[in-house]
């Protein structure tokens, strides 16, 4: 059998190295790599045999499984084990789309393009790895591998407070990773799993008592949660976003936050269902807090990027809520939401970046009526905002609808909290559009030009994805539901 995932990893690795080495031609190398990656992901999709209800041979429940011995000690059985299921496949698609869009969007990067594009590719490589890894160490390795390039991207190409932001980002997520690692290790050793493989851990974890599961789940939840980010461990996010270069912001919001969600699903929810059940109240509380907090804080932001960043907290709060429900409907919603948020927030961050270098500021009250001068940019902002506030026919709608439906299914009238927050979400996007896009022209430099072609194309890709998957969400949903999550009643 063709080791497709390894081939993809190799492609990305080779592409990354080549990009680092190719100097000023780096953008071409990066683009070629990204397109190859996209094509390979397409092949992954085509070959994915589980439409729906996949139960494959090899690694149960996963397609394209590969497993080679890596570190075999008497008490540690660590393998290079990879594979995909519906959940990871959708997020891999997100990775590929965002990578292509980011590379194209950043076409005009002049400062050390080889390093910049190399780091971008490295980030995506790490994310891809996280999504395919089915071994705890491998997973953790990729998980951490994402941090380093992102640290450099923020710290070198970022805004004025980039050093502070980079450090904050690194330290926050690193601490979380550590707690997560302890949780994962404890998971292996307390369950007595025979190896670090997902399937082994999953099987062994069934034997854990409820209390142990609950504690392990909490540790894992904290570890993954900071990446989400959950309130009150979220303050790294706005700073990181505001200071990060646009490309990094896109990857940060689009992919890095999803790592938290994916990790929580794969390594906590699936493995420790009764832990989830016990800790559900905590998760709900945190989720509601994040939803309300992120949204209310978005209202008070003047900086466009900061506003979008806080709205990410809000959206990821809904993801957490959906995951916490512990139903397969909720998980479907969570994955769908992550995909949607990845695309849409990418679009919004790109818009914010373009606003910044077109007008020299992202301060919303200092801008006004930019539409006549920069119609394309304004359109992108509008599409992004509308998608973000859940307009039907755009990708967020089916996702949010499913999430709310799942919330209602699990929590009944509590669904009114996220529902009501939808109004607040609408409020800040509308306020932003009113101030920035409409009204009399203000703060527009005389030499302001509309989007350069590459930024337009980069955003265009995301707009296309927003619309296509918004109208045909079944493309994603059918894949996701093909991976029934073990451990839930009724599935």
């Amino acid at each position: 059998m063709l080791p497709l995932i390894s081939i993809v990893l190799a492609t990305l690795l080779a592409g990354t190295v080549a990009t680092f080495l190719s100097g000023t031609k780096a953008r071409w190398t990066a683009l070629a790599t990204s397109l190859a990656f996209l094509a390979e992901v397409a092949v992954l999709f085509v070959r994915y045999p589980g439409w729906p209800g996949y139960t494959g041979a090899g690694i149960p429940g996963f397609a394209e499984g590969e497993s080679y011995a890596w570190i075999h000690l008497s008490w540690l059985q660590i393998n290079y084990t990879v594979g995909v299921d519906g959940i990871s496949l959708v997020l891999i698609l997100l990775t590929a789309i965002l990578q292509v869009a980011t590379v194209i969007y950043s076409w005009g990067e002049e400062r050390r393009p080889s390093a910049y594009f190399g780091l971008v590719l490295l980030t995506c490589l790490g994310c891809f790895g996280v999504f395919v890894a089915l071994d705890i160490l491998l997973f953790f390795l990729f998980w951490e591998a994402v941090l380093v390039p992102m640290f450099f991207l923020i710290g070198f190409w970022g805004g004025p407070r980039r050093r502070y932001a980079a450090l904050k980002f690194f330290v926050y997520t690193h601490v979380a990773s550590i707690v997560m690692l302890v949780g994962l290790l404890a998971l292996v050793f307390y369950s007595g799993a025979t190896s670090f493989d997902f399937s082994a851990v999953d099987a062994a974890a069934r034997g854990l008592t409820g209390v142990v599961q609950a504690f392990l789940f909490l540790a894992l939840f904290f570890g993954f949660g900071v990446k989400f980010p959950i309130v009150p461990f979220h303050t790294w996010l706005p700073d990181a976003h505001v200071e990060a270069p646009t490309g990094a912001s896109v990857l940060l919001a689009g992919l890095l936050l999803k790592l938290g969600g994916y990790g929580l699903i794969r390594w906590a929810v699936e493995v420790l269902p009764s832990g989830l059940h016990t800790d559900q109240p905590i998760l709900f509380a945190v989720a509601f807090l994040s939803i309300v907090w992120g949204s209310v804080l978005s209202l008070s932001q003047r900086d466009l990027k900061r506003m979008v960043a806080y709205s990410s907290i809000n959206h990821m709060g809904i993801v957490l809520l959906a995951i916490a429900l512990g139903s397969s409907l909720g998980l479907l919603a969570a994955v769908l939401l992550m995909f949607a948020h990845g695309i849409v927030s990418g679009l919004l961050f790109m818009s914010a970046g373009s606003v910044h270098h077109t007008f020299g500021t992202r301060d919303i009250p200092n801008l006004g009526g930019i539409t006549p001068r920069t119609p394309a940019l304004s359109t992108m902002i509008m599409v992004g905002s509308l998608a973000s506030l859940g307009l039907p026919a755009l990708i967020s709608f089916p996702a949010e609808f499913t999430a709310l439906l799942a919330t209602y299914n699990g929590l009944g009238y509590w669904v009114f909290v996220p529902l009501a927050i939808l109004v607040v979400t609408a409020a800040f996007y509308l306020w932003m559009m009113q101030r920035m896009l409409f009204g009399p022209e203000k703060g527009v430099p005389s030499d302001a030009r509309d989007l350069p072609w590459y930024e337009g194309v980069g955003m265009g890709i995301l707009v296309a994805a927003t619309v296509v998957f918004g109208i045909l969400p079944a493309l994603l949903v059918d894949v996701i539901v093909s991976s029934p999550v073990k451990g839930f009643p009724g599935t």
Partner: protein
């Protein structure tokens, strides 16, 4: 006694001794050029290393369980002064690698330095002491071997004899070292009084209630203090920072990469038996009246020391402005991690600690070599002096960054693997030890602060206006041989080799880890 059968097992040691004597002979003959003497030292260390590796290689590790007679894993005897363990062999390898790297880098020292033979001779003698520690089965033999290392390193620190900083460092090193030696021997004397022997194996055999619980505990307490000096555990660490700072940087590399590990291995040897063969202190402690096992008492005490060490080391490193002192504090905190291995006392933990020690040679030892090289480029000792190094010296900076990332435990580096194995072993042991792992992990998170700061300074901050590159080599007049961008080839090779190993072992640790694991298993199974 059959001379051959006595000497053959000590072939690496003999080779080192021969090289040392040859170097001193050359000194007497006024052949003192650094490259000649250095090459000799490198050759000696390399041959010894090859012999050790060959020993490891040819003794089929997989079949170690069957206890082959000969060099490896002879069960200790109540009378023998030394016993060869495969873990000791692994440590010999580690020590020789450290020596090899340092001597390789030191070949790039000024070629007409008068003391070159002394430098390399002392280096090899110190190494010899370290090698002998690994085979010790007797407390006095062990302590004397440690002293051989200590005395040699006191003098190595004072090696730049015109430098007041160097001498001040040597003075402090000496006084604290001598005090610790006294404490160690005093502890040994108490144990001798309690057990009637100083043989570690014999002490282990004296399982069961002991007649002198307080004496035993006091004896071990003195030993903890004495050995903790060598291993730089808090609060016995204070000398280390000043000494690492004041010593010639290459010597610092040796101290951090090599000689402090002696203390840790001594901990392994001395404390494994009491920890593993949990012994009831007869009649109970006179202070509490409760009969308790010796093992848990030691584990708790060492655990506290481990946590204290890593925390204090890291906290103090946070605000440190000088590169060497920062690395010194970091080195102290790393000792805390390593101590977890013996505290937990299981084979996985010992293996993890051993790997951590192995890794530390490449991370910290090589990092000091980089600092030495950077100083030779005329760049100042402060962290802030490294501004813009990333653009001016990309390769060197990347290598340094790799070492720092590895120290921070970032994945894909050897430092990650070692911490991973170590902490997973602690988690595996469950109970109290999980908290050790948590403390260790939180500490490594804390450590990220200052490592990241260096990275930030190197890569993000702009270079100072007038780059002082290719400045005069500090503290020496002559040109260095084989300049590799001002570093010297020897140093460049040592740094490059370390960086490469950091990544390679980080990616695929199985060969190294497999060997260490078997050795650790065996070590734990057969005891000291």
């Amino acid at each position: 006694m059959d001379v051959a059968s006595f000497v053959l097992p000590f072939l690496p040691e003999v080779v080192l001794l021969a090289a040392t004597l040859l170097i001193f002979l050359l000194d007497v003959l006024h052949v003192r050029r650094t490259e000649i003497v250095g090459a000799l030292a490198v050759a000696g260390a390399a041959v010894a290393l090859l012999l050790v590796v060959a020993d490891l290689r040819f003794a089929p590790l997989a079949s170690l369980a069957t206890l082959p007679a000969g060099r490896i894993d002879a069960v200790g005897s109540p009378t023998a002064l030394f016993a060869f363990t495969s873990l000791g062999l692994v440590f010999q390898g580690v020590f020789l690698i450290a020596t090899l790297l340092v001597s390789l880098a030191s070949v790039s020292r000024p070629s007409d330095e008068r003391g070159a033979p002394i430098f390399f001779g002392l280096l090899l003698l110190a190494t010899l002491g370290m090698l002998l520690v690994t085979v010790a089965a007797d407390l006095i033999f062990l302590l004397l071997a440690v002293e051989l290392t200590s005395i040699s390193t006191y003098l190595l620190v004072a090696y730049t004899r015109r430098d007041p900083r160097s001498l001040e460092a040597a003075m402090k090193f000496y006084i604290i070292g001598a005090l610790s030696t006294t404490l160690s021997f005093f502890g040994a004397s108490l144990l001798y009084g309690a057990y009637g022997t100083t043989n570690l194996y014999a002490i282990r055999l004296a399982a069961g209630p002991v007649g002198f619980p307080v004496l035993v505990l006091l004896g071990y307490g003195f030993l903890i203090a004495g050995l903790a000096f060598k291993a730089t555990l808090v609060p016995f660490h204070a000398w280390a920072v000043d000494v690492y700072d004041g010593a010639p940087t290459d010597v610092t590399a040796f101290l951090a990469g090599g000689s402090k590990k002696v203390g840790l291995f001594a901990f392994f040897l001395v404390f494994l038996a009491p920890i593993l063969f949990v012994r009831t202190v007869g009649g109970g402690s006179p202070f509490t009246g409760a009969a308790v096992g010796l093992g848990p008492v030691f584990q708790l005490t060492l655990g506290v020391l481990a946590v204290l060490t890593m925390t204090v080391g890291n906290v103090l490193a946070l605000l440190q402005k000088e590169m060497k002192r920062m690395l010194a504090y970091s080195s102290i905190s790393q000792a805390g991690y390593m101590l977890i291995g013996i505290t937990v006392g299981t084979a996985p933990a010992i293996a993890g600690a051993t790997l951590q020690i192995f890794a530390h040679v490449f991370m910290k030892g090589a990092a000091f070599l980089v600092v030495g090289g950077v100083a030779a480029l005329g760049i100042g000792p402060l962290v802030d002096d490294y501004r813009g190094l990333g653009t001016r010296r990309p390769l060197l900076s990347v290598a340094f960054a790799l070492m720092l990332l590895s120290l921070a435990g970032v994945p894909l580096t050897i430092g990650f693997v070692s911490k991973f194995v170590l902490f997973s072993a602690a988690v595996q042991a469950q109970g109290f030890f999980v908290w050790l792992a948590v403390a260790g992990l939180l500490n490594s998170a804390l450590s990220v602060f200052y490592y990241a700061r260096v990275l930030k300074v190197m890569f993000f901050d702009p270079a100072p206006a007038a780059p002082a590159d290719r400045g005069a080599v500090v503290g020496a007049s002559g040109p260095s041989i084989l300049p590799a961008g001002g570093l010297g080839y020897g140093r460049a090779v040592a740094i490059g080799l370390s960086a490469a190993l950091i990544v390679l072992v980080g990616l695929y640790p199985q060969p190294v880890l497999g060997a260490i694991q078997l050795a650790a298993q065996h070590f734990v199974a057969t005891g000291a």
